[in-house]
Point group: C2
Chain length 227, copies 2
Amino acid sequence: MSGGGAGPAVVPADLRVAVLGGTGPQGRGLARRFAAAGVHVILGSRTAQRAQLVAADLRELTGGPVGGADNVTAAAECDVVLVVVPWDGHADLLRELAPALAGKVVVDCVNPLGFDKQGAFALDVPEGSATQQAAAILTESTVVGAFHNVSAVLLDATEPLETDVLVLGDDREATELVQALADTIDGVRGVYGGRLRNARQVEALTANLISINRRYKAHSGIRVSDV
Amino acid sequence: MSGGGAGPAVVPADLRVAVLGGTGPQGRGLARRFAAAGVHVILGSRTAQRAQLVAADLRELTGGPVGGADNVTAAAECDVVLVVVPWDGHADLLRELAPALAGKVVVDCVNPLGFDKQGAFALDVPEGSATQQAAAILTESTVVGAFHNVSAVLLDATEPLETDVLVLGDDREATELVQALADTIDGVRGVYGGRLRNARQVEALTANLISINRRYKAHSGIRVSDV
């Protein structure tokens, strides 16, 4: 059941999606899946050249519409902008890009995690979560949280994923658009997961999935039952 | 795949499980499911009389071995003690029961949540989570977190559940025992979910499930994929 019972939203044919941090494993995997679904993607990276190299690779792998640009250009050219950058530098990057992101739907996919010998753990974020930090910085954008718990390894492949994507946000039109975007990935279902104030635990849950992966030698994900 | 790859653990035939707060919806539902599986349960409540009334009801519904007692007696008579009490008073109750709980496996099932017009949200806990609070108070017990995300409505019924139970803890023997206990519930699978320090987000995720239930008119739960 997608679209929150209001009928499934669909992704507009002319939608352009930027993936900032698209040369990292998670961003690359998401861009690959969107391109495979025929969604127009512009990979963003620190340098346009690096983004264009990965975009060329993904075009070859998927035959889909993928371009590459520096982060500012990618953000400016797209309607929906996924932020898939490392937690270190998250706030700085968003402050820098705030003008380019004004008026757009920004999807924060960042998990603030620390790592030590015992594995992964959630970091405290003054604003509550990475998504809420983005919302605090990007006051002219509509911020949504999503794609936190999807395995990068499984994304950068062709097999259908067997996972749901929890989509968090306070703006229904934006969360439904992002649910529809998640639905374009083979085997994935976008499920509304609550308001921004409940984003922290969805980001942090990735630490548990990393523990599960280690124990069970898996690439675990989350399915919501009874929905 | 249960038992963390070390072979599925089984619940010892003579295991006695206390469910403190067993007259509330979540505790009653868990006790009902364990009794239906033939696990010996003692319901605990503030007063023995109230616990015995619910126990009699569950004996009639399940034909299983359910008794009732005050919380201290229930805790003292059992090997595994589930704490399914309201968050208010959680710490006070555990301090009071600490001597009776020494040497036992204590399974904290409590979700520290607040509610307002916008729904549920996670409360801040000084120790990090209810489970870590229990571990801080019960220094002579082995504390595990589990059963946070299971719908009380679905528990207090007979249909198989379609959900996993994330089991959190730092003691492998205890987490495997609690996984095995979860496995006794029809349709449920106990999955190791990480160390105690990663309990907060599993407790808090219940706020998201409440949001999902409201949006989709469901009794949602969690499945872990690829495990």
